[in-house]
Amino acid sequence: MRSKLDLELVSVTKRYGTTVAVNAINHLFHHGSYVCLLGPSGCGKSSTLRMIAGHESVSEGAILLGNTDISQMPPARRGTAMMFQSYALFPHMTVLDNVAFSQKMKGIDKATRHKKARELLELVGLDTLADRVPAQLSGGQQQRAALARALITGPEVLLLDEPLSALDPFLRIRMRSELKKLQQELGITFVHVTHGQDEALALADEVVVMNNAVIEQAGPAREVFNAPKTEFVARFIGGHNVIALNGKRFALRSDRVQIAPGADGGLETAVASVEYLGTHVSLGLVGPGDTAINAMVPEEEFFAKPLEQGSQVRINWHERDLHPLAQ
């Protein structure tokens, strides 16, 4: 199901000298979806975003928005807008002038552009602070201002470069739900770069996991989490164990590890650590060949039969919870 506003990367490559930052990646971003580019630092996710935005040249390949190749266009003509990691608000302008900046560049008169900017500020709930300068705003307010400034251009695709990384944990959770709500209201594509898997899972319709300049796995958040295809994805997305059985490697979710003393099958392990996490207890187990295994046991279940550090325990799992990994 393709719409005419889909964003497509066609074997997009970025080279810096001899290093390859992004290696011939292909991906289709469906219009109106919230996509998270997830990966460790240096994996090429930021370069990819900056190439889509036009702040980085494309070494090879094409970027299509609808049927147009936008890869050679100047940033402002692409139909994309970018929200920068540090927000990049102009420190010498009021919030209102910051938001109205792109309209000023187009030569739109002051009254018209200020009216439009006020509408956008209202959308992000910042209309009362329009006359302040960025230094007088909190982190969350600066983020809203940056959001309003990006949205005033009426983009089809909003590109967000680690938008929540500058915020404290509480604010981060609040702002992420606001981002999601805004995306649903506007119905445009959001491409959000992050290295936090919880952020990606919470926000994304589609998660694109990148590593070493390529896409390791892409798909709906639930699919990626429940069935990681590679060891890297299983480890990076969190909440998984990678265990070797009969010479093959499998991913096993921590919360699907069953503590079954005395049962047959499974693995014999020793308890190395016990951490109480509120709803769950996290058990650090050491299996044969020093395999580290993490088990998340519901709190009630654990305290019905508490285990101590150093005790031996046999673990088990359902066959359907084992996901074979690409070798």
Partner: protein
């Protein structure tokens, strides 16, 4: 963990914060320090230096400017003769205008040059090493005395100098250009040569602090190169431009040696007026001129500081 374990580090912290109480009562040194005496004591040396080397000489100049003088003596008095003579003379006003003209021309040219050089270093040189190398290159002329740098213009600009010779050889001119040396042109040229770096340094300093993502954000919003310059770079460089302007204007306003050498003693400015009086031992007159010049420069600096807030640069 027991509660005792938790309080132990806190107890040791409090005792560490007030070691003076360990002996039972605070020591004398500590008591004096805690009275705020220490902050006064620390400020004392610089206060003395400033009082002795800055405030006292200025006060002395102001006092002497009211003294009287004859052609062979000076005597303490409180008379306004020096000021009356200075402000009543048409020469003073034309010299004053000439001084302002040099200040304005030098300011305008060094500002454009300084901004351009700083812009090139900041936005067109991408490696830090090359930025440092090129910046040091700008400072190399400052490794010699400014008088030597000034004098070296003379054989270059003279009637039979390199500039005139080359132009005539190229067939651009038939006659040597007379205005190249010992003219307003040569004075301004020497000023620009001497003081451009004072403009480059503060502007380069502010410009390097501009977050590069601001430029990307402006481009993302559709600004072209010129719009980025006028809407983002120049407004954010204003403090540096202002600091450089204060340097250049005050230096040019107070200069006398450049004007003397480069004009071949044919052009006068306020500094040369003062120097003339001093060489005639007419100290009261020199002092009165100095006071007028000082007040003028202070007013100019005050106006510049009102225009741009430089506090965040200091």
């Amino acid at each position: 963990m027991s509660s005792q374990d938790q309080t132990a580090p806190r107890a040791s912290l409090t005792s560490a914060a007030t070691p003076g109480t360990e002996a039972g009562k605070p020591s004398l040194a500590r008591r004096i320090l805690s009275d705020g005496f220490s902050s006064w004591a620390l400020a004392l040396p610089v206060t003395l230096v400033l009082a002795f080397f800055l405030l006292a000489p200025i006060a002395l100049i102001v006092v002497v400017s009211f003294w009287g003088s004859t052609s062979f003596s000076i005597y303490p008095a409180f008379i306004f003769d020096n000021y009356e003579y200075l402000l009543g003379s048409q020469v003073t006003y034309s010299v004053f205008l000439q001084t302002l003209k040099f200040a304005f021309l030098t300011w305008a040219i060094t500002l454009v040059l300084g901004f351009t050089i700083a812009y090139y270093l900041t936005f067109h040189i991408h490696s830090l090493t090359w930025q440092i190398v090129l910046f040091l290159l700008c400072t190399i002329p400052f490794w010699t005395s400014n008088i030597i740098r000034m004098i070296s213009w003379i054989p270059f600009l003279g009637r039979n100098g390199i500039a005139n010779q080359s132009l005539m050889n190229m067939g651009v001119i038939d006659q040597p250009l007379e205005w190249l040396l010992f003219s307003e042109f040569s004075v301004t040229l020497a000023f620009v040569h001497l003081y451009t770096l004072f403009m480059v340094v503060p502007i380069f300093n502010t410009m390097m602090r501009i977050d590069k993502s601001l430029i990307a954000a402006a481009r993302d919003a559709g600004a072209n190169g010129f719009q980025i310059l006028t809407n983002v770079v120049i407004p954010l460089c204003k403090p540096g431009m202002m600091i450089g302007s204060i340097f250049v204007v005050t230096l040019v306003m107070g200069d006398f040696i450049t004007v003397r050498f480069m004009s071949g003693s044919q052009i006068a400015n306020m500094g040369r007026l003062i120097q003339n009086d001093i060489s005639l031992l007419a100290y009261p007159g020199a002092a009165a001129t100095s006071v007028v010049l000082l007040i003028t420069v202070l007013i100019m600096v005050a106006v510049m500081l009102r225009l741009v807030d430089i506090r965040k640069e200091l």
